[in-house]
Each structure stands twice: as C-alpha cells, then as structure tokens.
Amino acid sequence: MRFLINKVVLFLSTVAAILGLLFLFWILITLTIKGVCAINLHIFTNDLVNNGLRNLLVGQFVLAFIAVLIGVPIGMIAGVYLQEYSFGSKYAEVIRNLSDVMMSAPSIVIGTFVYAVIVNPVGHMNGWAGAVALAIMMIPIVLRTTDDMLFLVPKELREAGVAIGAPKYKVIFDIILKAAKVGIMTGFLLAFARIVGETAPLLFTSGNSEYFTLDLNNEFPSLTVAIYNLATMPDKNLVDIAWAGAFILTLFVLVINLFGRYIIKEKK
C-alpha cells in the first residue's frame, strides 16, 4: 500500500511537471512561429507609422538605458552602504527588507506614482517620466545584487586595504568593487533584462509615438506599449507586427539571461 501511494504521488508530480512545461513550451513555440513569420527587413528599417518597428526598438532601448544611468549609481552606492558602512545595523536591515518589498511592488502603481510627480506637473506624457519609472523599478534590484556580491568578497581583502593606510572609499572603489566586478556587472545585466520588458510603468508615463524620436521631452515610442496597443487592433498586419515585436523582445531578454548565467558559471 505504501509503495502504491508512493508510485501514485511520484506519477502525479511527474504529470504536473509535464503539464506545466507543456504550457510554457506552448507559449514559446507559438511565439517563435508567429514571430519568425512576421519578421522581415522592412520591420527594422521603418517606423511604426509605416508598419515597422525601428522607432519602437530604439525607443525601448533608450528608455531602459537612461533608466540604467539613473538607477545603477543610486542602487549600487546604496548597496555599498549596506555592506560596508552600516555594520549590520537595524537601519540597514530595514532598507534591505524594504527593497525586497519594493522589488515585488506592482509595477503599475509605480507608473501612477511617476504620473503624479512628473507627468501631471509637466502637463503631458514624456520620455523622462518613462525612464524614471523604470529606474525606480531598477534601484532595489541593483541594490540587492550589489549587497549580495559584496557580501561574497573575502574579509581579508578589506583588511589588507585598510592595513596599507588607504581611506575606506578608496578601499571600496579600488579593491572591493573590483573584486566583485563580474558578479555586479552580471547583476546589472539581469536587472536590465528585467526592466527592458516592462509595460505597465510606461503606459501612462512615456505614452507612445508612431514616429522616430529621441526627444525625451515629448511622448516617447516604446516596444512594449506598442505591442499592447497593436495586439488588440482588428488589422491582421498590425497584429503580426506585434508578434514580431514580442518575439524580438523575448529573444533579447532570454539571450541576456543566458549570457548572464554563462558569465556566472565561467567565474565559478
């Protein structure tokens, strides 16, 4: 009897695993088929107004890149503080846990927040607001990555630095951060991969545009928001463009993730 139950449970859990994987591969396969069919050169050389994706791809990348420029320094230096200056204080513990909470906060709420503090005073949606929304999502991720990676740096390195009389900030920048460089860079890469696919915080911060623009003071094109708008259009051509965009986005995110894993593995 015991062995029968054992067999049944193991069988069920295998079935559950197969079922779950089936759904997930169903997504990937339809995405690949639809995406590959819809991709052609025309898409990369034209803007949305001419049924292309060029302005959207560039726009998404620009937004994410500016978010990195804002989010990474703040997150990284905050992470340095937690690991190097706080000495395990209660305050550091609170920040650490709050940033974990913030990491899982609904992204659309961050969008509403940025709408309130930037879009509303300015009067219209603009690219900066979108980049700031993404940066806010990025800060806690970067913070925790830096924190975790610095934790792994051996104590002896710090002591050696201090022993030769270097001031602490020099020890941090020239020794500790260098030692943890690969891990931290990988963390940034993964954080970038996570925000580059975000839609909800951009919906009413950066808005959307059909034209090629690099002017962040006006509504700014982004791939994800465009996918959201295009997918529900009755025109089949536009839906196909949305699939192409979705495929490119997913491929991009997955490649970055695989690359990040590869680096971590190499390091070990």
């Binding site: 079922l19 339809t30 703040i74 920040i95 609904p106 709420v109 696919g197 894993r261």
Partner: protein, 337 residues
C-alpha cells in the same frame, strides 16, 4: 572625501525609504478628493461611473446596501422615483416595475458615483484562481526537479524554468488572448476573455516563479536527513512529505505568498484576457475587471474626480500588495545573515 562618500552612500540607501514613503504619500494626496467624496464605502460600492441625482444619493446608497449582491448593470434599483441618467455605454436595461429610469438631463444637481468593489473582487478572485492552479503544478515541478528527475534532465529543465520566469508578462497576456483564451472557451464555454482565462494565464505566469523558489528551498534539506529516512525504509513520497516539506516549509509558504503578491499587482498578463467589463462575474467564465487593468485602461484619459478615483484604487492595490509581500518577507523569508 571619506566623510562625504559615507554620507552620500547613506543618502542613496535612504532613497529606498524615500521612494516608498513618497509613493504612499503622493498616492494618498492624489486620492484625497476621492477618499473625501466616497470614503470607505468605496470599498463596498459596486457602481462605477454611474450618474445619480444628487438629492437622492443617500437613498440610493441605502437601497444599494439592500441590493448589493445582484447589481449587475450599474443601475441602482430603488423604491423611490429616482432619476438615473444612465451611463452611455449601457444598452440593455431591465425595466423593473418599481424602477423608473428617465433620460433626464438636469446636470446641475447630479453626481457621478464611483465604487471600487468590482475591481477589488476581480483582483482577488483572479489571484485566488491563479494560485489554485499554479501551486499544485509548481509543487509537482519542484518535486520532480529535486527528487525524481536524473541530473541530465533536471539541470536543463531547471534552467528552462528559470528562464521562463524572465519572460515579460505582456507575452503571457498576448498568448492568452490569441491562443489560450479560445482554447479555454472551447473546453469550459463562455467567451475567450473571462475571469477563468485571466486566472489561468496568471497562474501559468507564476508557475516558474514558485517552482524555482520551492525547488531551491527543498534543495537546502541536508542529505543526511534524507538518507537516514531512506535507511529506515521510507518511500520517496514519505521522505518528501515527512522530511523535505517540514524542513523547507517556511521557504515554500513564503514563495507562494510572494507569488500571490506579484499576481495581485500583475497588469499586462491580465489586461488582455480579463475583459475589462465592470460587472460581477456570476459564472467563472464571465468577463470582469481587476484593479491594475482599470488603471491601465482608464488612466490616460481621466482627469479630476475620475483620476482621483483611480489613484484611490492604486493606493488600495499598493497597500494590499505591500502588506502581503511584507508578510511573506518578514515572517517566512527572513534573511539569515
């Protein structure tokens, strides 16, 4: 320089605190007109964007409390001769004998009523559905990966699962709209957008998340414990049930609650497939709406009171998910450093 850098880094760390509190404060300030206007009744009022005569609002609200369960068409049934100027997107109005609806336009003393009950219920129901669907499957995957599969299967599959957790949620939504929704409606009936489809898509989205976290915490069980159980003649199932689960319990429950917190605030996976209709789902295959979807669909074209109402909803969502996630973090997933 040293002192400057120390201060600067402390300030950077404080930005987390600053952003979180200012999100709360800003949302509250923007929601204030709506909070003043509708108060906590907002949470149990199922009317959305309904225009009522100002003088009769009190009566309408009183009547609403008697009839909350079966208000479906955003119409307020009352015994009095209440003038309701109907919302322009309503078409079929059931004409009850005791309900007088007149297309009267005395705008001066009318008022628009907003209530958050439908999106709140929609959010909670879709999340519960998602968890009911996702947790058993994710547990199955985790058990399969950590205890059943040989390494040459569990390694690539484990990586695949983790990669799937990285796919942007809008992809799940789009797939749900074009493929999974029609598939579900063939099996269960109903439309291809519904509460059921939304719940299932949401569930599929959190499966990789729960599965990989659960597998990680199951793997922390020391081999010695497992081996001694096997040595006593325990079957694999008994080892999983009596040794691994108790050992990894906190991590597993924590990851489930964390996933729940994520599902609550998920926008894009749900926006495509829930329907965006302000009505209670009487059947599981009816379309409805959730808080993030209301925000996504209405935010750009709202202003004044309707915008304030959306901020009220955003505040509610933020508070709920903050509480849920903090609970998971502080109670179950505390960093052991």
């Amino acid at each position: 320089m040293e002192a400057f850098f120390k201060k600067f880094s402390a300030f950077s760390a404080a930005t987390i605190l600053l952003i979180l509190t200012s999100i709360f404060v800003v949302l509250f300030l923007y929601a204030k007109p709506a909070i003043k206007e509708y108060g906590l009744k907002f949470l149990i009022d199922s009317r959305w964007d309904v225009v009522v005569n100002d003088s009769n609002i009190k009566m309408a609200t009183a009547a609403l409390n008697q009839n909350t369960t079966d208000i479906d068409n955003e119409i307020i049934p009352t015994d009095d001769d209440l003038d309701i100027i109907e919302d322009n997107d309503l078409k079929d109005i059931p004409m009850d004998d005791d309900l007088n609806i007149e297309q009267e336009n005395n705008v001066s003393d009318t008022k628009v009523i907003y209530g958050g009950l439908i999106p709140i219920v929609g959010t909670i129901l879709s999340t519960i559905l998602a968890m009911l669907f996702a947790v058993p499957i994710a547990m199955g995957i985790a058990v399969f990966l950590s205890e059943i599969a040989p390494p040459f299967i569990s390694r690539p599959v484990g990586i695949a699962i983790e990669l799937l957790a990285a796919i942007p949620s809008i992809i799940y939504g789009m797939w749900g709209l074009f493929y999974f929704g029609p598939f579900v409606s063939k099996i269960f009936g109903g439309g291809s957008v519904s509460l059921l489809v939304a719940g299932l898509v949401l569930g599929i989205m959190v499966i990789p998340f729960i599965a990989s976290l659960t597998r990680d915490s199951m793997k922390t069980t020391p081999n010695v414990l497992k081996e001694s159980a096997y040595a006593m003649g325990a079957t694999k199932f008994e080892v999983i049930r009596d040794v691994i689960f108790p050992y990894a319990k906190k991590g597993i429950i924590g990851s489930i609650i964390l996933a729940l917190g994520r599902a609550l605030g998920e926008t894009m996976a749900v926006a495509f497939v829930i329907g965006g209709v302000f009505s209670f789902p009487h059947k599981i295959t009816d379309p409805t709406v959730s808080i993030p979807v209301v925000l996504a669909n209405n935010f750009a074209e709202s202003s004044g009171m309707s915008l304030s109402v959306l901020f009220y909803l955003a505040l509610i969502l933020f508070v709920i998910s903050f509480v849920v996630i903090s609970f998971a973090k502080f109670y179950f997933l505390r960093d052991k450093r």
